[in-house]
């Protein structure tokens, strides 16, 4: 029984690995492969935010900073300081994670709307700095990255190798997140979400749990940031706008917070509408709005948990019908 159960649990994961492996051969060309790796990068960012939103119950509007700051650090260190890719990437991750630590210390003093607003403000401050600190960031012109690295002779400048590179990192992050969700720490984070007072009474250090969650989230988001820099070979303040931060949050809520598949599905839908559907439908903005409203009307818990509920209900209905027979 338990064997069958764990096999059934790994089935979706296996399916995802297979899907990601064969995707380049199904997709009709390099453009769509590029879209696929973009989706994975945004999905990674959404998943990192979901640690806060889904497990911690903290709606943050600062996550775009973890896309932008590591990307700036990476591009800055490799394009301007001439650092080689690996140290540049590690520095970028360190910078993003440190920023998360700082953001956490500041933002975690507030809850609810106060938390939302303080994260909004922190995100805007970073955005404003990128805009205004022209000597360091290039201002609104941004900075360019001349080439992607070639680790072990693998030419990441080509679409398919880069796609697999992103896929492997994404899957590794997903694996980490699954472990995280099932870990004691994940459970205590959810505890602070649902019953903070009780957690405190039980001797848990609520602030520290949340702060660590912030750091995990920032670290994972920073990976997305470095991948973003490699993907677009370009970074500008517009990567850290409030709109970008809201978009990532929307991916999480749309797909369903607190699930692994939810943020991924949310990233797929929003990125596809933005990049592909918008080629064919001029009013794609309205389409996106209608999707949000439709989901909230019919599956208010988000797509993935919503469909799971529908399936359970359908299953129960079928079961109920079968029983009298």
């Amino acid at each position: 029984m338990s064997l069958r159960c764990s096999a059934a649990r790994s089935l979706p994961a296996l399916g995802l690995v297979l899907l990601l492996a064969v995707l380049p051969f199904i997709l009709p060309g390099p453009f769509y492969i590029a879209i696929a790796h973009q989706i994975l990068i945004y999905a990674l960012l959404a998943l990192s935010l979901d640690i806060l939103v889904g497990h911690g119950g903290m709606i943050s509007l600062a996550q775009a900073a973890f896309l932008g700051v590591p990307a700036y650090v990476y591009v800055g260190l490799s394009a301007r300081a001439g650092l080689s890719p690996l140290p540049a990437a590690l520095s970028a991750l360190a910078a993003g994670t440190a920023l998360a630590g700082l953001f956490g210390v500041l933002a975690l003093r507030a809850r609810g709307l106060g938390f939302l607003m303080i994260t909004l403000a922190l995100g805007q401050v970073v955005w404003g700095l990128a805009y205004r600190w022209v000597d360091l960031t290039g201002g609104d012109n941004g900075m360019r990255l001349s080439a992607r690295p070639r680790p072990f002779g693998l030419d990441l400048g080509r679409p398919i190798p880069f796609y697999y590179f992103v896929s492997v990192i994404f899957l590794a992050a997903l694996f980490f997140l699954r472990r995280f969700a099932r870990s004691a720490f994940g459970a205590s984070l959810r505890g602070t979400r649902d019953q903070p007072r009780r957690m405190a009474m039980l001797g848990h250090h609520v602030f520290r749990i949340r702060w660590l969650a912030f750091i995990y989230s920032g670290f994972l988001g920073s990976i997305a940031g470095v991948l973003f820099a490699l993907s677009f070979r370009f970074i500008s303040p517009q990567t850290m706008t409030l709109q970008q931060a809201a978009e990532v949050l929307l991916m999480v809520i749309l797909g369903g917070p607190g699930t692994l598949a939810g943020p991924l599905i949310g990233a797929v839908i929003i990125t596809l509408v933005k990049t592909v559907v918008s080629s064919y439908v001029a009013r794609w903005y309205t389409v996106l709005g209608l999707i949000f409203i439709g989901v909230e009307l019919f599956l208010p818990e988000g797509l993935v948990p919503g469909f799971a509920r529908l399936r359970r209900r359908l299953g129960a209905a079928l079961l109920a019908r079968r029983r009298p027979a």
Binding site: V53, I59, L106, R109, A110, R111, G112, L113, G114, L116, M117, I118, L120, A121, L122, Q124, V125, W127, G128, L129, Y131, R132, L242, Q243, A246, L249, L250, I253, L254, P257, R283, Y285, T286, L288, G289, L290, I291, F292, I293, V295, E296, L297, P300, E301, G302
Partner: protein, 288 residues
């Protein structure tokens, strides 16, 4: 810095504070009473400005155009409450997603209907002039906006504190079941609050129109300001929203005049500081 500098920037600050109050009052009402973070509020404001521009094009007098736009946006708010937000009571993330969806649609439909060019809204002719004050000129219309904001604040406080409607609203918000038990039509009241909040946004859009004009992006420029005002002033307090508006007016005007290099972050740094010192806002409280 001359005395004139302090005088004119003070006038600028209070005038802007007045404008911000017109923007934020509706948001504060809806969030304070119903705990709905209505992220379509910037869209309501922009829609009001556009509707006002069209009404003025049809040669409606300014104040009538403002009323018409307020009514139109208010009705939209009421419909949204009935059809959408009612189902999402207590689901904060759902409210965020749904109201942002509404904001997207409003932005796109405004762009489709009114095009991309900015539209100007002319104030009443008698206010279209600059008044000489101690050697410099200040727009009469901005002073009128300030007066209007003060009047509106008094009116709203009176409505909530002194009228039967206000008492019923407070009862319904505090304890819905008990309010229903004593025969208060809570459901209709909630729609009324939403109508009122949205109508205030629409009204603000028209009143702000001669200063800001109507243009694509007005919504996303204004929404963060509304949030800042409300968070700084404290939730659910009209008086707090008014004080918050004035504080922001002062911070913005003197901040960018004295520290121009911080213009992009001038509103956010003080907000972070305020939230660190008093996470519940300067007046009132942030709900847990």
């Amino acid at each position: 810095m001359s005395a004139q500098f302090w005088l004119i920037q003070t006038l600028n600050a209070v005038a802007m504070g007045g404008l911000l109050f017109l923007l934020a009052a509706g948001f504060s009402l809806i969030f304070g009473l119903m705990r709905v973070p209505n992220l379509a509020h910037g869209g309501f404001f922009m829609l009001g400005a556009y509707l006002g521009a069209t009404a003025l094009d049809e040669n409606l007098p300014f104040w009538l155009a403002a009323l018409a736009a307020a009514l139109g946006v208010g009705l939209l708010g009421a419909v949204l409450e009935r059809a959408l937000l009612r189902r999402l009571a207590g689901n904060e993330q759902g409210q965020v997603l749904a109201t942002l969806g509404v904001a997207f649609i409003i932005a796109d439909l405004c762009l489709m209907t009114w095009g991309g060019n900015p539209l100007s809204l002319s104030p009443p002719a008698w206010l279209m002039r600059a008044i000489a004050i101690g050697g410099f000129f200040f727009p009469a219309y901005r002073l009128a906006v300030l007066v209007l904001a003060v009047l509106l604040a008094v009116l709203l406080v009176a409505l909530m504190e002194k009228t039967r409607l206000g008492a019923m609203i407070r009862a319904g918000v505090d304890d819905r079941e008990m309010a229903e038990g004593v025969g208060i039509p809570v459901s209709r009241l909630f729609t009324t609050i939403f109508f009122l909040g949205a109508a205030l946004a629409g009204l603000g859009g028209v009143i702000g129109g001669p200063i800001l004009s109507a243009y694509p992006g007005l919504d996303t420029d204004m929404l963060p300001l509304a949030l800042i005002v409300v968070i700084l002033g404290g939730i659910g307090s009209i008086g707090g929203a008014f004080v918050g508006s004035m504080i922001i007016g002062f911070i913005y005007n003197f901040g960018i005049a004295l520290f121009p290099n911080f213009a992009y972050v001038i509103l956010f740094l003080p907000m972070i500081a305020a939230l660190l010192i008093k996470p519940e806002g300067l007046f009132g409280r942030v709900p847990q």
